[in-house]
Each structure stands twice: as C-alpha cells, then as structure tokens.
Symmetry: C2
Subunit: 636 residues, 2 copies
C-alpha cells in the first residue's frame, strides 16, 4: 500500500553518497584529529556510555518535542531515576555520569541535586555537617536544591532580601521573606522535586552599636541547609510556600522554583559553617575568611564553560556542514552548460561566511579551554610552580571575559547555523531546537555576559595604572608584557604584517587590546569619568582582550606542534588564519584606530577570508567528523 517506501531522493540529492564524496576530497585523518582534540579516555568513555544508553528506550528523543511540559517533567523524573540505576549498575564515576548527562541531552529534575547542591554542601559544610549529610546526598535519601537567586535579586547577591534571624532564646534561626521580591526564584529542582535545599539568606544578628544600644543588622548572605518538604507526604513544611515558576525558554523537564518563608524556624545546625560560624551559646559570629583555593575552582569552572561552548558550536556546525554539503539549490549563474547540476549550498560564499568562521571558532575555543584546564591541573598537583600560579591569578581576573565571549559565540552559533540551513533549519529535523532553547540561558547565568566583563576591565585598568606609575617595573605576566610593549611604543602605529607573519597576528591582537586598556585607564583614572559612562567601552575592551587570548593560545598550540600529519596541520593553520582574519575584519575599526593593522591590509582581508574559506571547504565534512559527535547526540 505505501508506495512512498520505494521512492529514492533525486539523483543529485543522495545524502550518503554525497558525504562519501565529500570525505574523499580531504586527506584529514579524522580518527587522529579526534584523538588530538578529545584524547582516548574521553572517546572511549563516550563509546562505552553511548552503548549503554542506546539500549534504554526511556532516553529515546523521538517524541520528546511533542510532549506537554508536565509530561516532560515526568519523563525527566523517570530518566533521572534510570540514570541513577545505571550509575549503580555500572559503577560510573563522576566523569561517566557527566558523559551520560551530556549524551542524554535533556536536563533532569535531579540535575541540581547532583551538581550545585552537592558542590555547595561539599564546599560549605563543616566536617561534622559533612559527615551527617554526605551519605544522605550520595544515596539520594534526600534530594537537594540550591536557592540563592530571588525575584528581586540575581546578579547582586548582596542585595537578596530573605532574612535568617538568630533567636538566642530557642537557639534557632527564623527564616522570613519580608517582601514579595524576597521570594526565591529560578531555583532548579526545587519547584517540585527537592526535599531539601541550601538556602542563602541575610544572616541577621543583634549587636550593640557604638551607643551601646542593641541593633539588628545583616552580617551578609550565608548558606543554610533547610528541609523544604515532608519526607512522607512531599508537602511543603509549615511556613514554606514553594512551587514551579512555570514555562520558560528551554529546560522543559526542569522544575524551577519560587519559595517564600513565613517565620520558619530551622535549627542552629542548619547554618553551613565551614567558613563562618555562630556560637550558639555566646551568639558570637565568626566571619568567613576569603579562600585562595577559589582561584583554581573558578578557573576550572570557566574552562568547563569554554569547553562546553566549543561543543555547542561543534554540534551546530556539524549539522549545518553535513546538510549544506548535501543540499543543492540553483544552478551557477555563470554556468553556460544547460545540463549543469545545482550548486551545493555550502559552496555559496554567503553560506560559507556564516558557517566556516564558526568552525574555526570551535577550534579556537578548544585550545583556550584546554590550556585553562591544563593550567588548573598543573597548579592543583603542585604548588611550587610560581609562574603557573601567577598565570592562574591573572586568569582568575580575566576568565570572566572568556566566559562572556565563549557563551555569546556559542549561543549565537546555533541560530546562525539554523538560519543558514534555510527552510529546513526551521524544522525539528535539525536537532538544534532544544539545544538552542536550553543553551540560551548561558549568556546570563554564572555571570551575565555584559556585567562580568567589568571584572576584566577593572583588572586591566589596574595593570595599566601600575605601568603608568612605574614604567620600569618588571613585567611578569603575559598581560603585563603586552601592556609594557604597547606603553613603550604607544605613540607609534606599528601596523603589524598580519598577512605575512603569524606572530604578527598575535601582536596585532595584543596591541589593539592594550591600546583599549590604556584608553580605559585614561578615561577612568586620568579624566575621572563615571564608571557607568564607560561600561560600553569596557565591554569592548574585555572582548578585545579575550579575542587576543584565543588567538594567542591557538598560535602557541600550532607553534608547539600538534603532533599531526602535515595536511591536517595545514588545515589547522588555515583555521587559525580564518578565525584571526575574520575577527580582525569584523572588528576592523578597532584594529585600524589603534594602529595595529593598516588600512591597506584591512582592505585585503575580505578577499583573504574568501580564499581561506575556499581552502577549508573541501575539508569541512572531515573537520566536523573529527568532533566525533554521535548521531545519538545529534538527534538523528
């Protein structure tokens, strides 16, 4: 009956054949490049976990996009439970579990229990608290969430309104939401799932003021462990209102929460007291000391964000490159052969200009993310490497810029690839819809992309100030060296030979960033201009500095030798050029006005970019193959 089963695609549109031809056009050794990018442990893990997950029907993505939001939540619970069972059956370690979550590619309601809640408890519990809670957390006897953000305050944590008032008479804390805006908001896993939560509240203490009068004030936001729901009934405890905030952009299976407290009492032991504690008998409060270990943790966290961003770009580009290589539309306008076939869409320069620089970006982010991770590993295993520690301290101050740039590039990449695929890009067949909806939170969370760039700028202004006040001082870190180079020659226009010399590319990026740093310093420290009036320039400065980091790391990696065959290395070099020249072309005015690159060179860049794209084009399919993304993940 179903005669459509015998139909074949038009002769010119046989996907498998076309991809086979594409792969024949390139000499890249995909397997070797994959190992270079990911290492064998990662690739082995991906295969091993994939085999297990593919057998489990509950993780099938086939009908997911048709479900209602409540059904997505229930499916999420079932998936979470099954994943936990698999973890026990196969004795998965943390990396295995992360890989499983990545391949399942659907946030589970238990996610915050495993991630933020567990991490916060590990970090904030006293030894005694940890002994009590850790087994319950590991066995999922309790399910925890992390409640910090409120309706009224997200970025500004110090502004949160929930109060935890110490009552010395009963030796309890009283949690109270004085306003509607004090409502906890956005807290994942808490809307329906969690039994417990870390709750961040202003710790309110009464102390005698200078006049000897008792005065209540906050000593700052502190974390408490709070039971939220009854273990038997799963109903909220008295004095707690908690629920799901409803639909949001992505994360359909996640129960993001609102939560309010009305004079809800929690015991003294609820205050997580590794860093700060309150003596229950004397009421004396011991303030937290800042911990230096946070440097490494933050750098590690930011490297994960960058590596994740490069995988998101890799995924969008993989889907786009394969489809656009197969898809043909219109005969070449200049062709005089009436029998000529239609042009593969990936051959159009207007399509290449959107896809191939992104392909190069995935590599650029990869090398920077790797370098950050390696630096973190080195400093963790040894505390004697002073150079590394100086670099880590600097990275701590500047990695906010990389977070901002990487998540911005990745979030935009999905939509760029989607649009480049034309009509079919709008369809569910791309596998990109949920990826986009879920990933679009990333430019906001873990530091809003436009806000946190101030950190980078503040650090750079400080570094320029040091230089201006002591021009002869030793330049230790790379940034100091770059700033010194610029400072010494700042009245020249070096116009680096970026087209001839790769080291000059790095110099040009550093020069432009240094120039912008000095301008920011002058505006703030010399002209004393208001901080708010500088924010747009500071954001641009952070971007310029982060782009320079990406280019420098990419260049360093290529110079150190990537241990790959000649033809693959040549293509990697082309990707480095494409990323660099496309970025310079996009930001041409900044390179020009800083004197980093001259007008004649800038005028040549668009043609150079076209040439590079033509060079890379035959390797596009093999390059995305090397990202080793399983079809299972691509949702095919």
């Amino acid at each position: 009956m179903d005669w459509s089963k015998d139909l074949k695609p038009a002769a010119s549109a046989n996907g498998a054949e076309i991809l086979a031809q594409e792969r024949q056009r390139s000499q890249i050794n995909v397997d070797r490049l994959s190992h270079h990018l990911f290492g064998s442990a990662y690739l082995e893990r991906q295969q091993r976990i994939l085999r297990i997950l593919q057998r489990e029907k509950i993780f099938s993505k086939a009908n997911q996009a048709n479900l209602s939001r409540p059904d997505r939540y229930f499916l999420g619970l079932a998936r979470g439970k099954r994943m936990r069972q698999l973890m026990d059956e196969h004795t998965w370690n943390d990396d295995d579990l992360l890989m499983a979550e990545y391949l399942i590619d659907d946030l589970q309601p238990y996610h915050l229990h495993m991630s933020l809640f567990a991490a916060a408890m590990r970090e904030q519990c006293s030894e005694e608290q940890r002994r009590y809670w850790q087994p319950k957390i590991e066995s999922w006897e309790i399910i925890g969430a992390y409640a910090q953000t409120e309706l009224g305050h997200g970025s500004n944590v110090r502004g949160i309104e929930l109060e935890a008032r110490w009552d010395p008479s009963t030796k309890e804390f009283v949690l109270h939401s004085p306003t509607l805006t004090a409502s906890k908001w956005w807290n994942g896993t808490l809307g329906r799932t969690a039994t417990h939560s870390v709750v961040v509240a202003q710790l309110m203490l009464s102390e005698r003021n200078a006049q000897g009068v008792m005065e209540e004030r906050s000593v700052g936001p502190r974390p408490f462990i709070v039971q939220v729901r009854d273990k038997a009934t799963h109903q909220p405890l008295d004095g707690i209102i908690v629920g799901d905030i409803g639909p949001k952009y992505g994360y359909a299976p996640m129960d993001n929460a609102y939560m309010l407290f009305c004079n809800h009492r929690i015991p003294h032991s609820a205050l997580l007291s590794r860093y700060a504690s309150l003596d229950p008998d004397t009421g004396i409060y011991t303030r937290p000391k800042s911990s230096s270990s946070v440097y490494g943790q933050l750098t590690r966290g930011r490297s994960v964000i960058v590596m994740n961003a490069r995988l998101v770009i890799a995924r969008a580009v993989t889907v786009a490159v394969r489809y656009l290589a197969i898809r043909r539309q219109f005969r070449d306008q200049d062709s005089t052969d009436p029998a000529s076939v239609e042009t593969p869409v990936l051959d159009y320069s207007t399509v290449q200009i959107r896809i191939l620089p992104l392909l190069a970006t995935a590599f650029a982010l990869h090398y920077s993310g790797s370098a950050m991770r390696e630096l973190y590993e080195r400093t963790r295993s040894s505390s004697t490497l002073d150079g590394d520690n100086a670099q880590l301290a600097e990275l701590h101050s500047t990695s906010a810029g990389l977070k901002s740039l990487a998540t911005e590039l990745a979030a935009n990449s999905v939509e760029t690839c989607r649009r480049a695929m034309g009509g079919h890009g709008f369809g569910g067949g791309t596998g990109l819809i949920q990826l986009n909806n879920d990933y679009l939170s990333k430019p906001t969370v873990e530091g809003d992309n436009w806000m946190i760039t101030q950190q980078v700028a503040r650090y750079l202004i400080k570094k320029v100030k040091e230089r201006a006040e002591a021009p002869g001082a030793d330049a230790v870190s790379r940034t100091e060296q770059n700033l010194q180079n610029f400072w010494n020659d700042r009245h020249t226009q070096p116009c680096f030979a970026v087209l001839e010399n790769d080291a000059d590319i790095v110099k040009a990026f550093n020069w432009r960033a240094s120039c912008m740093a000095v301008k920011a310093y002058e505006a703030r420290e010399v002209q004393k201009r208001p901080w708010n009036s500088l924010l747009v320039d500071l954001h641009k400065l952070s971007k310029a500095y982060s782009q320079a980091m990406l280019v420098a790391t990419f260049f360093d990696t290529l110079q150190a030798g990537v241990g790959l065959d000649q033809s693959t290395s040549t293509v990697l070099r082309s990707l480095f050029h494409l990323f660099s020249f496309h970025t310079i072309d996009t930001e041409a005015r900044e390179f020009q006005s800083s004197g980093a690159v001259g007008t004649e060179v800038l005028d040549q860049l668009p043609a150079k970019v076209l040439m590079l794209m033509e060079e890379i084009r035959p390797h596009a399919v093999r390059l995305v193959d090397s990202f080793a993304l399983p079809d299972y993940l691509l949702d095919r």
Copy 2:
C-alpha cells in the same frame, strides 16, 4: 492560610509606582503620538476587536505554553472555528480579521486557507473557476492550503520535481512524485486540516521536437487545485500520501505537511488558468504573460512585512523598557552615599546600547513601511502619476533589501531584548518566547534574507552600468540621482558633516551605498569576476542601500513635519540621530573607506550615541506607550 498574598514588593521595586514616575519625567503626548503612528481607524479597530476577544475564554494565553503539540493543534482548531463565528456575528471585514489574528497571536490551522490559498485562487483562477470556487472558499465549505515548496526545493521554485502530466486520452492531468525529494514539504494547513490545496507542479507536455519526434518536457511549474481528502471521512484520496512533518521551531498549532502523489488523476479543470491554459481538445498550451500588476502587489506585501517587523521590535522593546525601568540591580559604583538605592537597569549604558537603538529602529522601519504603503495606495488609485510609477518600479527591484534588513533586525531584536532582561528574560513572564519562536521563520520565508539581496545588487549594478555608459543621461529616480552624484565626484572624499547637518546624514548613507554599488559594478562588469565570489559584498551592498532608504525616509518625514508638539518632535529627531549614528558607528569601516565620513567624526560617534541615549532615556516609557500595544497582546 496563604500569607504570601499580603506580601508587597520591596519598596524600591513597586512596578506601578515606578512606571508612573517614569511617565512623569516626559512631556510626550502618548495619545497624539499613537495616532500619528497608527491613525484613529487602526486604534479604534484594535480597541473594538480587543473588547470582543477578551470576553472569549478560548483565546486565553494562560496555559498555552504548557500544552503538548497535539493539544496546541486541537486548541488552534477550536480557536479558528470561534474566530470564524465571531467574524460572522460581527460582520468583520478583512482588516478586522487580520486584527483579530494579530491580537490572538497564535497561528491557527486555518490560517493558510484565509491567506495564501484564498489569495492564490483569487489571483490564478479563470473567471469560470473563480465563480465555482469562490463561494466554497468564503463559506469554508472547503479548507484549502498552498503546496509549492518541496523537500528538495524551496528557494528555487523552477527546480521542483512534482510532475503534472497531461493525458490527452482521458483529458486529465496525472500528478506524480518521481522521487522522495519531490515530496511537498512545509505546506501549512495541509498536514491535517485541509480538504483541498493549490498544488504547484511541473506541467509536462508532449510536443514534437525539431526532428519531428514526440518529446515530453516541462513547460514550467503551474498551479492546480486538487482535492486532497475525502469530504466524508477526511482520509486522503487514493494515490495521495499526506501528513504532518512534526515539531518545528515555532508555530505549534500549525500542521505543516508532507505530501506525495502516485499517478493521481485530476480533471482538466484543475489547472488554474487565468494566465496560462491548455486546450483540452487540441492540447495546445498558452503560456503565461508576465503581469505588471505584480509590482504593486509585491510592494504592498513587502510593506506589510516591514510594518510587521516594526511591531515585533516595538513589542520586544516595550516589554524590555518597562521591565528594565522597574528592575534595579547594584548601587552606583561611584556613589559615596551608603543609603543610595540600586540603579534602574535601564540606566546602565550597556543596557541602553542594546535597547534604545532598537527603539529608534522601530520608528525608522515605521516611516519606511508607511511610505511604501502610501506609494502603493497612490499608484493603485491613479495610473497617471509617472513619478510615482517610476518610484514603484524601483521599489519593486529594491524592496527585497528592506525585507531582508527589516526581518533580520526584528528577529534579532527579540533575543537582544530577552538577554538584556537577564534572568527574567529567560522566563515565560516576558511573553516573548512564542513571539521569538514564531518570528524566527521570517528571515527565511518569502525570500531567504541572504539570497534575495542579490536582486537589489543586480538592479544597482545595472543602474551603475547605465551611468558608466552614458554619464550625461538624465537621472530620474532617487537612486539614479544618488549614483550620479557619486559618479561625478567619485574621486573625492566628501566627509559629510553628519554631526552638524541632518541632510548630510542622508548624503553620507547614499554616498556609502553608491560607492559600494560602483565597486560591485567594477568587480562584475569590468573585472568579470564570478557572481558567487561577489555574494558577500552584494549582501553588504543591499544592506547599505536599505539602510540609506530607512534614513532618507525618516529624514523626509521629519522635514515634512510630523504635526506633533515641539517636545515630541525633538525626541523623534533624537531617535533619528540615534538610529543614524548607531548605524554609522556599527558600519564605521564602510563609511570611512568610502570617504562618506571622516575618521575624526567617526571617533566622536560612540560618545554622541551615549549622549543621545541619555536624552532619550527619560522618554523611553512614554515612547513605548505610544506603540499602543495592549497588555492582552503582551501576554501579561
């Protein structure tokens, strides 16, 4: 029991009070500005239809985002039916119906019946066919769709594969899909709802070739009216496979279709034969003549796209401005007053730079869209205005650029506003999620944004060629005049005084576009470079030309006088400046290298943009109020 009901927002976060204060800061007469923008007929219609819809529970958006895709479809059917009933009850005309669809803000499965199907039948039917079909269409006795796009071909309509073969023995056409890629694809209303469809297929005729041998060939794609489903059972007719293509980016209630034919026979009368016909007895085919009325239709259609784009931006900006005016986060870093309150987020320059140029863009698009519509109306009511007709002909060739630019700006605006709102931007409370998901098809449909810009470039290259070949010829249209101005002075660098003189702003935009047109001409016509190697530059040319159109129309409107009070006119002038300077700043390299604007002026632009945003900031809430978007539409 629910003690949370009595809670108030924190004192500094009372939305209604803050908005009232915001409105007190500005003298703009919102009502007058609304009437200036929309006219009283539109505003009256919006109020009238709104009152009717608000009473209808079925149009409530409250739970929409929680539903499954099948339930969204069923809800869509019910809504469509109710809308049709309301149309009959209130004797709505076409404009009323469009307003109702706009306010309901959820595409209904019947949408294509009312729009594309009805329009195609109106346009393509012979008189006899129209008499037969029109009553059935108007009464919804049949529900129609429009099936042109195929799995293998969208943009390139001439490449579609479905065949309609004339069988002279039975005087029927035989519809047949020879391949899988010949499957109709994306066709709205057809997946589950429609009984009929206009089906576009290659009309295959057998004709004697030069050697006298009968040869079958396509005379091109032609439209047929085809019954798809049985009226009683709603099952597809024999020889037709049709169904829903499944989830896609937005348009949850819409049943986009795939459809295949296996030697399915349709009568001779199925060929829509207003423009082309086949004599059933002789088999002689009469080819279509190109119709000049299509100029006006296309211009009208493009003006609708531009006006729709400006409403999408207006909506995103309205939500963002109101929220960001209320939302406060962080105290001013430079404040020494410890009691200072947190800063409204809209006061941060990094937020303003994302929102306020978009606010200006909504006005710029508005005036261009209006001008297009008025031109269309003028030429329709009178055919004697030669100047208007010349302008219309030019607009026909260049409006593709406006479609591309306007939908790109609008599609990006929603995401820009969403991100500027930080965490809450990710939430469903913005009312922007569905708007974004639905609107994201617009950069692709009705001419892919990167593809159709070739039309503009082709037209401009032709115009430059005429100029180069006859430099003394009369320059009739505006474009010809601009090109002539540039051509005559092309070896100079005029460096227009854009900061001093508004007319110079328009000149600078025209100069830059003309310069790029001449470069494109030289590359193509003089250096004979391949078309594909120029596509990126041609896209930039179209963008530059379209931006010049927006700026020129905005300027003309202000010069002609907008009939508003002085303070409102002053703010409109600031919006014109903001749109112009922000665009010049963003595209600075092109203005610089064409010699349209000098480096010193370009260097002043960022500060000038900051100043303009400070000027506009107090008026932001009243400006978005003037868009007159009902809370009902904003999904509050």
